[in-house]
């Protein structure tokens, strides 16, 4: 399904440690290896605090990893500085979760969506009106909205403006951090329709952070499940429910409530909560909540092993030669 020549960005052994009190360190991302492909969506799923936002923030230089490299256009982008970094930023843009706090409240929509273009000298100040109109129409908003302020708009409209701003520079990659979580379901649906249409038209790569497997599987080409800083499973988005096999991914899937589920089925949620990222267990990070935990899981950390086409799992149960 994925062609190696479409590989656009690759993260290799990315680790991020934050210093914590008492000389300890908090490991937010642990040896993350991920690939993003041109025109495809990578969905990153996990519970709060699992490190999914930390990872995506590396790609837009809001943070840098402690170890590892991120290869884009043949360069390790984590080492970029100065002019080179400034130039590179226009190719990777971001949309944030809460559209009401990601704009300057004193700027008009026209100035918000045109600011990146002016910054990179792509347009002249006199062209702002026409360009703002064009960008707003691209995200299906009336061109007259250019005169408004962010507080005059609904949450869904603001998120469209955020998408217009991110797309203004025609980037190759867009990172969306829970871009629809603050919205109502009906609005969420229209935003997903918009994102997927723009992706088809412009062949954009999307990195989408989400905690709802039900939503992400409806439009991601590739889904990575993260737990306590570790990627535990990478699988294709289509038919995900049939192939997903890591016990944590299954637990996430079982925790999805939707209108087509079997209502008579008693839900069996996994018990407890993730351990603190300050003392990550030595073996499998999921061992203490896993219903299939064996001795080996407590001793030895499983690594990602291929189990099918575009499908990798980090679990001893699915490693070759393992029992059970």
């Amino acid at each position: 399904m994925f062609d190696e020549k479409d590989l656009i960005l690759e993260a290799r052994h990315v680790t991020r440690r934050f210093p914590a009190a008492g000389g300890r360190s908090l490991i937010a991302c642990n040896d993350v290896n991920l690939k993003m492909y041109r025109g495809k969506t990578l969905g990153l799923v996990g519970e709060s605090g699992c490190g999914k936002s930390t990872f995506m923030r590396f790609l837009v230089w809001l943070d840098t990893p402690s170890e590892g490299e991120i290869i884009y256009r043949g360069m390790d982008i984590t080492k970029l500085k100065g002019r080179k970094l400034w130039e590179m930023r226009q190719h990777i843009q971001m949309v944030f979760q809460d559209p009401s706090t990601s704009f300057n409240p004193k700027m008009r929509i026209r100035d918000i969506v045109c600011e990146p273009l002016l910054n990179y000298g792509r347009i002249h100040a006199s062209e702002k009106d026409a360009k703002a109109r064009e960008l707003l129409e691209m995200v299906e908003l009336p061109g007259d909205f250019a005169d408004r302020y962010p507080h005059n708009m609904s949450g869904g409209q603001r998120q469209r403006v955020a998408i217009a701003r991110a797309l203004a520079l025609e980037p190759e990659i867009i990172i969306m951090d829970e871009a629809t979580s603050a919205l109502d379901v009906s609005v969420q649906e229209t935003i997903i329709e918009l994102i997927t249409r723009l992706q088809r038209e412009k062949n954009i790569t999307i990195g989408f952070i989400c905690h709802n497997l039900g939503l992400i599987q409806s439009f991601a080409h590739q889904i990575a499940v993260m737990y306590l800083g570790n990627i535990v499973e990478v699988m294709p988005g289509e038919g995900m429910a049939d192939v997903c096999c890591h016990p944590y991914s299954r637990a996430l899937l079982d925790a999805v409530f939707d209108t087509k589920m079997d209502f008579s089925k008693k839900i069996e949620p996994i018990q407890g909560e993730p351990p603190s990222p300050l003392n990550i267990p030595a073996g499998c990070p999921f061992a203490d909540r896993c219903p299939h935990c064996q001795d080996r899981c407590l001793r030895e950390r499983p690594v990602l092993k291929p189990v099918g086409p575009d499908h990798e799992v980090a679990c001893h149960r699915f490693a070759k030669g393992a029992n059970g």
Partner: protein, 262 residues
């Protein structure tokens, strides 16, 4: 006689009527969920039941009957006897509803002692017992913790434990799982369903998560712009209704193995 009945209720903030002509009936032990988009008036309705409408809103028409008795002309004293004992409420983030500078135990003891005349020690034990019944591990430690030291799921369980102390006949829940992660959400949903099985509690749950609403509820009420757009059994609202708004809303819910956009 129904446990709770709202008859043609209008609720206004200032001169603006926000909720219009709301009719709702709840039987004992029934779970009803109110769904709708933000600003549809769903929270206002359940707050009205407990006389807790925020920001100067008031019920301007209609009647709210609890076991046949009108709630609208209760004296403050009668309200106090009813709240917590017969009807209680849990909020979106129960931790934020508590005093941040006091430990859980101190709040819990105060809560119990406003409702019954017991010693602090007895109240403490009762609180601990409730936390244990809501399956919170290590209740003694929880009682000695501040709200911010607990995780979101633990805080929500504390809220449920407090609300269930006197085994109310009616539990009102305002977005009880919206701030939680999916696996914790599943735990809380299951726990609320068990309340009905064990104590026969009737529940009204307000949520924008239609999946959770339909899993839990016997009856679903759909609200839009302050008006009840549609209501009926879960099967009616999900599969049978002719109401175009309800249908559109239900189709927008993403489902595993459902519609794909790419």
């Amino acid at each position: 006689m129904a446990l709770l009945e709202l008859r043609h209720v209008d609720i206004s903030y200032g001169n603006r009527v926000t909720v219009k002509d709301c009719d709702l009936t709840l039987e004992e032990g029934e779970i009803c969920s109110i769904v709708g988009e933000s600003g549809s008036g769903k929270t206002t309705v359940i707050r009205a039941v407990l006389g807790l409408i925020a920001g100067g809103g008031r019920v301007t028409a209609g009647e709210i009957l609890y076991e046949g008795r009108s709630l609208l002309d209760l004296s403050p004293r009668e309200w106090r006897a009813l709240r917590g004992h017969d009807i209680s409420m849990i909020f979106q983030d129960s931790g934020a509803m508590m005093n941040q500078t006091r430990r859980i135990g101190s709040c819990f003891v105060e809560y119990i002692r406003t409702h019954e005349n017991v010693s602090k020690k007895e109240a403490w034990e009762k609180g601990e017992d409730m936390l244990a019944r809501m399956r919170l591990p290590d209740p003694d430690r929880i009682m000695r913790s501040y709200p911010f030291q607990l995780s979101g799921g633990q805080r929500q369980r504390v809220g449920i434990a407090m609300g269930m102390t006197y085994q109310p006949k009616l539990l009102l829940a305002d977005e009880p799982t919206s701030a939680l992660d999916v696996t914790t959400q599943a735990q809380i949903v299951r726990q609320m369903m068990e309340l009905r099985d064990e104590y026969g509690t009737a529940i009204i749950i307000v949520t924008h998560d239609i999946g959770v609403a339909s899993y839990m509820a016997d009856r679903v009420v759909v609200m839009k712009d302050g008006v009840i757009e549609d209501q009926g059994t879960r099967e009616h609202v999900l599969y049978e209704t002719d109401n175009p708004y309800t249908r559109k809303l239900m189709e927008a819910v993403p489902s595993v193995g459902g519609k794909r956009y790419v």
